[in-house]
Structure formats: structure tokens, C-alpha cells
Amino acid sequence: MTTTTAQFRERATIALEDVRLQQALDGATGRFATARQAALAAIPWADELRDHFKAIRAATLANLAEHLQTFERQATAVGTHVHWAQDGAEACAIVTEIAQRHGVTLATKSKSMATEEIHLNAALAKAGVRPVETDLGEWIIQLAEEPPSHIIAPAIHKTKEQVAELFERESGRPQSAADIPALTAEARRMLREQFLAAGMGISGGNLAVAETGSVVLVTNEGNGRMVTTAPRVHVAIIGIEKIAPTWDDAAVWLSLLARSATGQPMSIYTTVITGPKRTAALDGLPDPDGPEEVHVVLLDNGRSPLVGSKYEEVLQCIRCGACLNVCPVYREAGGHAYGSPYSGPIGAVISPLLFGLDKYPALPHASSLCGACQDVCPARIDLPRMLLELRADLVTQGIAHGSEAVLEGSVSLAMRSERVWALLMGMGRVGQRPLLKNGKLALPERFNPGGERPLPALAKKSFHDLWRDGEV
């Protein structure tokens, strides 16, 4: 997948013309943003807690190797198999190998951005394993064969009528679109069968706690508990940056995650997995249930090169989605315009960094730099700064469009001398006259950096001159 400016514009235009989608986006993002605000307002020390969390995240990344090794040691001690994956292909190979070793043909999955990122479902299908998404939203888009359009609400773009149609096709029974609880009950029934039949459960991990070798999963539906409990084998795929060194750190993390994501004080289920079922629990007797094997795949996929770079801060992200809900670009363009599992402001920064700036050259520009994302971020990540850094990289790495690089290079040259600049502006004010239409600069579309929108014309008198003459 790539996202060039033309692709972004094309996909965004489709979204903008879809009235139903615009309503859904407005409704969902508005509700999330309002709920988040209320949840944080309920704790008067929320701002200090966020500062504290940022300090935790920064310190953790500064010593990430040590924390990962602690995690590995503690997880191994309780019987978890820890794997390391350099990239998506390696991670997929590890998971499919485990599945094949156990003769697994059906795997249930709980929602995981890491598995979206590495296209695990395609790899599993190719290896003869049928992956079934079990988060309701994620399952809906799997049935529709579409990518997620929001980090935490992947199916916000689907109507209940579309959902009913998908369920009808899947169940072979008529479904009533007017009855959302009935559709939910139908999903419960159909997916319960899958949970019980699956040979393997696959999850992501919201965080991993190093000191006890635990993986923490947060869900509202309970599917996270299902996939980590019912099948014989559980595999968790988790980015190497999602480490909380201690339970004290995890408590801060969990205090902010749900509040920032959905405005809940706590998600309904926070599941902490520490190894497979015990053959001898504290009293020496075996656990009655739980998976016999637990695997954790620590996924790098472009993360470790960011540590120590000007982009390290992006690894402090906990994928709450708060920045999507307040972003004026995301709220109009929707998630699919970004062409990446990660959309919105965080996606605009992390997609080029993980998957290549040359593949996602449009995303650093998919922002008005209003700063709303940084305001709501639980780790106060300075996304606007990194968007600007990426825009600079586009030029210095020669990825920016040829004409754009020439234009920006010339402007930069001209602006170095006040006299040259004044001269060029003077020439421009005269030269633009034949192109003016209703006071705007109507360039032929292929020469217009503003796309379909006309550019503002050069003012009769520049601000500089107004200032000099004491008019402002």
C-alpha cells in the first residue's frame, strides 16, 4: 500500500462525498472526544499524571534493551516462549510455524493493530489457517474484506444495514437491521462456536510488564479473554516499545489508556497473561483451564532504528486513538484515505517511519498542524514537530515532488535577501494580473499546488510594507 498526494486526495474525496460516512465520523469522533474530556476532567491531576506518564515512557525507551531482556527472562521463567521478529515477514513466519506445528486450521483473533501492520491474516490464510477476527467491529470489516478505518472503532464506516447484510451472508439466516442488540446476539452465537473450535488464539498486547513477564490486553467485549483462554495455544504479537518496566508504571498506563480512548475510567476487561496454565499452581495442583502453550512475539518492524533518533518520541504512543478524534483532517477524510492501518495524526507520522517515507509521501502533509493531537495525547507526543521533520525529510531525501523541491528551493533562495524578495514580489503582483479571477489566483490545475482550490492572490501591499508605513 502507498499513499501519494493524488491517492490521498482521491480517497479523501470519496469519503467527503459520502454523506452517511461524514455523519458517522462526526458522531463517533465527537462522542469519543467528549467522553475523553469528561473522563480526564474527573481526575483533577490528569495533566500531572500525563507528565508523569511521558517521563515513564521516555525513560523506558532510553533503556529499552534492558527492559526487553527483563521481560524475556521473567516470561521464560513462567513458561512463555519468547520470539523476536525483525520485520513483518519474520513475525508471520513465526506465527504460521507455531500454527502448523499444532495442526491448527482455525485461529480466533482479538483486535490487534500489530497484526494488521504485518498483514498476518493473509499469511495465515496462505498457510492453510483460517483467521477469524472476534472484536465485533474487526469481524464486520473482515466479512466486508475492508481495512480498519479507526484505531479503536474499526467499523465506524459501516451502517447497521450493511452489517445485517454481512451477517445474513455469513449465517444464512435473515437479520433485522433495525435491531442492533439482536445483531450483537447473533454475533455472540456465531463467534462463540469459533472460540470453542479454534486451535489457536492470537492477540496483540496493549502493554507488557517486564518485571513479571506479563502481557496485558484490554477489551470491552471479552473477546480478549476468550482468545487467551479457550484455545490450546495462545500467541501474542506486541511491538517492542510497548513495555512497562514495573506494575507501578503499568498502573499509570492503564489509568490513562481507557480514559483517553473511549472515556471509560477502565475498559470492561483488563486481562493479564503470565505464562501458560500452571501444571502446579500455588497449592501444587494444576489449573483447570487456560492455554497449554503461550508465545509472545516481540515485533521490531522498523521501531528500533527510531530509538535515539529525532522520531523516538513516536514510540511513546499507546494507540488510544485520541488524536484521531480531534484531528480536523481525520474527521473529514476518514481512516481509509491514509492507506495504512494507522490513520489520523499518529498514522501520518508512524506510517512513513515504519513502512517508508517514499511509500507514504502524502501523509506528513495530511495535517493542518493545529496541534489538537498533542493536546489530547496521554503521552503528550509532539506530533506536529515530527510532521514538520518528515516534511523536511521529504525534501532532503529527494522524495518530494520534483516541482515542489524546485519551488521550495527557489523560495528559500529568494527569501535570503530582502531586496531580491521585494523585487520578486513586485514582479509577481504585476505578473499575476492575467490570472486573477474573483480576487483569487486561478492557475491551470496541473500547475496549481493547491489542487482544485484557487490560491489567494498576492496582496496589493505586503504586510511588510504595511508595517513599515505604520498602517498596522
Binding site: 529499552l64 445483531l183 450483537t184 507501578d248 470492561i268 486481562t271 500455588l282 489449573d287 535515539g308
Partner: protein, 215 residues
């Protein structure tokens, strides 16, 4: 192994001396933890009850089971449930006591009406109950049935996540004592994935009932 070395070496070469901040101390103060728990759990569609003592809690449990019309009940065999001799008390119900009753636990849970458990702690701020897995603590017993009922003394209430980690650091959260699964449950299973409309009971229990009792 090569991947592991590559990743760790790269990270180590960018290692910096930056200490973790000192532990965040809880700033939350509730006059009455039980009252706060009831308020918080009610807000998330859970069903809290407050009983004066264990006897009262047991009577409350009986009333709820009757009202539900429950027939098959699976119970984790832990305090205080283990001491209540439930199968003798309500012999008309079909019981599976984890670790005690013979037969397929998973099969029983698949068709059970109610799962009954206690918890190691409850968090007042968020209305959450913390449960552990163990030899007598089934994970599916609190997950498969449509109703989960918790019986818990108020002495296990703690203010928030920070007091929980501070209190249990050396007991329930330490290496060796942390079980295969620990779950914080904060209400009945829910989703808003279809048109942002809330629906209760998608995969986990549809009703989450907590009977707190004073000791």
C-alpha cells in the same frame, strides 16, 4: 537468535542514563470505598449489592439465583464460596464446583446459567473486581456463562489502581504469585461497534453482579 542480537545491539547503542520517575502516589480519597464502588459499577451497567454480612450476602445470592431461574451453576472453589456448602444449601440446582465436581468443566460452563466467583481485590474508583486463575479458580467459569456473580468482602476494596499495586506488589503481583491469568472486570461485556450504539453482552457475561458484604 540473530534477530534478537540485532535488535538488542541497536537499542543498546542508543542507551541513555534516564531514570524512571518515582512511583506515582494515589491522590484519590473516598469517604466510603464501598459506596464509591457501588456508584462506579452502577455507572457501567454492573449490578452491585451491599450486604451487612456474609449471611446476608448468601441470602442475596439465593434470591438472585431464584430470580434468574438459574439451573446450572459453576462455582470457583475459593473463600468465601467454598465454605458455604452451596450444593447442600440449594440441592435443586445443578452444581459444578471447580476442582471438586467430576466431569468436563468446559462443557459444563458452555451450558451453565451462572458463574460464581470471589476476587482478590476490588477497585473502588472504577468499580472493578480483580480475579485470579488457580487450581480452584476456573477462567471459563467467569467467562462462558451469561451471568457472572461475585461474592466479595468489603475488606478487599482498595481505592484505585495505584493503591492496588502498592498493596499487592509483594503478594498478588509478585513473581511466583502472579497466576497465569489475572483479570480486572469492570462491568458486563459490551460493544458499540455497530453504529456506535451500545449493546450489552457480546462475548462475555451479559450481567455482572457483585455482592459486597461487610465482615
Amino acid at each position: 537468535m540473530r534477530t534478537r542480537t540485532t535488535i538488542l545491539t541497536r537499542l543498546q547503542s542508543n542507551n541513555r542514563a534516564l531514570a524512571q520517575p518515582t512511583t506515582w502516589q494515589s491522590r484519590q480519597g473516598f469517604n466510603d470505598l464501598a459506596e464509591q464502588f457501588v456508584t462506579a459499577l452502577t455507572a457501567v451497567h454492573g449490578e452491585p449489592h451491599l450486604a451487612p454480612n456474609l449471611e446476608g450476602a448468601t441470602a442475596q445470592l439465593g434470591a438472585i439465583l431464584a430470580e434468574l431461574g438459574a439451573q446450572r451453576v459453576v462455582a470457583n472453589n475459593e473463600a468465601p464460596i467454598a465454605d458455604l456448602n452451596l450444593p447442600t444449601r440449594w440441592p435443586h440446582l445443578q452444581w459444578h464446583i471447580v476442582g471438586e465436581t467430576a466431569g468436563d468443566l468446559r462443557e459444563f460452563c458452555t451450558y451453565a446459567d451462572v458463574g460464581l466467583s470471589s476476587g482478590i481485590a476490588a477497585i473502588a474508583e472504577t468499580g472493578s473486581v480483580v480475579i485470579h486463575s488457580g487450581s480452584a479458580q476456573s477462567r471459563v467459569a467467569t467467562l462462558f456463562p451469561p451471568v457472572h456473580i461475585v461474592l466479595l468482602p468489603t475488606s478487599r476494596l482498595t481505592t484505585d489502581l495505584f493503591t492496588f499495586t502498592a498493596t499487592h506488589k509483594n503478594t498478588h503481583l509478585a513473581n511466583g504469585t502472579l497466576p497465569a491469568a489475572m483479570t480486572f472486570i469492570s462491568g458486563p461485556s459490551k460493544t458499540a461497534d455497530i453504529e456506535q450504539t451500545m449493546a450489552i453482552g457480546v462475548h462475555g457475561p451479559k450481567r455482572f453482579i457483585v455482592i459486597l458484604y461487610r465482615e
